[in-house]
Subunit: 312 residues, 2 copies
Amino acid sequence: MKELEFINIIKNTLTDSSFIGDDTAFAQGFVFTQDTLVEDVHFRLSTMSAFELAQKAVAVNLSDISASGGVPCYILISLSLPSCLDSSFVEGFYQGVEQSCSKYGIKVLGGDITGSDKVFVSICAIGKAKKQIKRSFAKEGDVIFTTGNHGSSKAGLEILEKNLAFDEKFIQAHKLPTPKIKEGAIIADVCDSPALMDSSDGLLDALYKIALASSVTLEVDFDFVPYDFDIKKLSSDWYNWVLFGGEDYELVGCARESDFSKLQEVLSLHQIGHVVAKSDFPVIIKKDGEYRQITSEIIENMSFDHFKKGPQ
Amino acid sequence: MKELEFINIIKNTLTDSSFIGDDTAFAQGFVFTQDTLVEDVHFRLSTMSAFELAQKAVAVNLSDISASGGVPCYILISLSLPSCLDSSFVEGFYQGVEQSCSKYGIKVLGGDITGSDKVFVSICAIGKAKKQIKRSFAKEGDVIFTTGNHGSSKAGLEILEKNLAFDEKFIQAHKLPTPKIKEGAIIADVCDSPALMDSSDGLLDALYKIALASSVTLEVDFDFVPYDFDIKKLSSDWYNWVLFGGEDYELVGCARESDFSKLQEVLSLHQIGHVVAKSDFPVIIKKDGEYRQITSEIIENMSFDHFKKGPQ
């Protein structure tokens, strides 16, 4: 079963499901999110230290807060781990948490620690909401933009999993993504109701969800999509890594032309396309002069499915 | 390794560990908590339906909010489950969530759903803080009180695990505990800085933690400790079930004599002892005219350890 089906079940079961579907929820001046990383689904202990895991788990959650234009302030952490892992794992993990707290100016409010067969990290992050930003706010005529490279995290994962030619920058992109906190806050400040998401599940996944939620079509010119050109040395499949790889935690958004001009004065952004009136396809990618129409089947087949076994 | 050792590692690793150690944290007028239930550690799918599991997972978290005198308002839910569980599990689970939301007047703010080998439920609960209530607020001369029966949940678990004589009320106490939300709010309203905890990890565990945090000794008269007398029919070990069983989610607290008198006018509470000056033992239990001094070794050996395999 796919995540979207689960979300539909949840929406149909809860009387008040107004908060379900987005990655974050706004309430009482705050924005809330919760995300879980599971051993052998989202990471492997053979390639990820406790120190790195903690930082990634925090980053994943802060990225969602930033993609809502919130300023992260608190986290709660549930850590479940097998009894074979000793105190040094917990120490390394919390050193990673401490590093992230210091880097992003957040505090640990609590959480719990339990036994399990595999390592689970579930983090709830809370930010101050500057204004409500949602994926459903894209409008015809908007500029589509992103904050940085796509595909690098997938490249790092492939290097680790398949022993491809070692390249530290890709491994770092995979293990230690940087949530775009400053960028999210500036976008919230400058823009009037922008649509925004992070690319946690891939660039195309983000574009597709924005298009569906906003009832528009997103036309993207691949020539303007930023990626590290060294990715081409790793695999002939690099094009799909850029579009579907996921876990880059860049921001992907749509803003009015005038707001985007103001944003460019203070942020280094990549304009990758335009929002057009809704057509039969939510996303259209232009590459080498040809147009590729993105269907929901393509998204489902290519994007990360939490219910497949093993990291991506 | 024991939970207390983990907490010490976390306290020593984080620069700002002021929130670590209590079950909840107060910030910005709200009180926060996060607790996880793990299949085959906290529950078994053979004895617990998805509907029941959801309600228990919510109750466990709301109980912590209530024990801080907070009024629960929001939850976020991370659900991880094996691919063999189908949509009916998710539907049953969220029907349980809906039941709890309706019963306790709370809303689901979000969360996520991921794959895993076992079922994991990690819930973050947020309440409005009426005032700060902590386990460290007990004072010499205080009345020690509790809201209801202890040992019933353990009795229910033993019936399920060991096929003891069936008794529905104990099974219900184990599967569907009721967080003491009304009681927590009234205690917060009426009392000046009471010490309060829930008995999630057992009556004695709560008494012991209050005593340590408050630097006092708690003298408890077992004759006044409430329990269902039918528990005696189930096992000769019933006395330990009452003291150490856990998962009853009753409130255990200490209040000034005058505040306790006021509480008794509006709540049905059980006075079970008095707080005295700190002695060599944090908790002393009087039973059949004899005094049993509770050491940390007794607590550690008898209480629930999340790092043992299987439910209790």
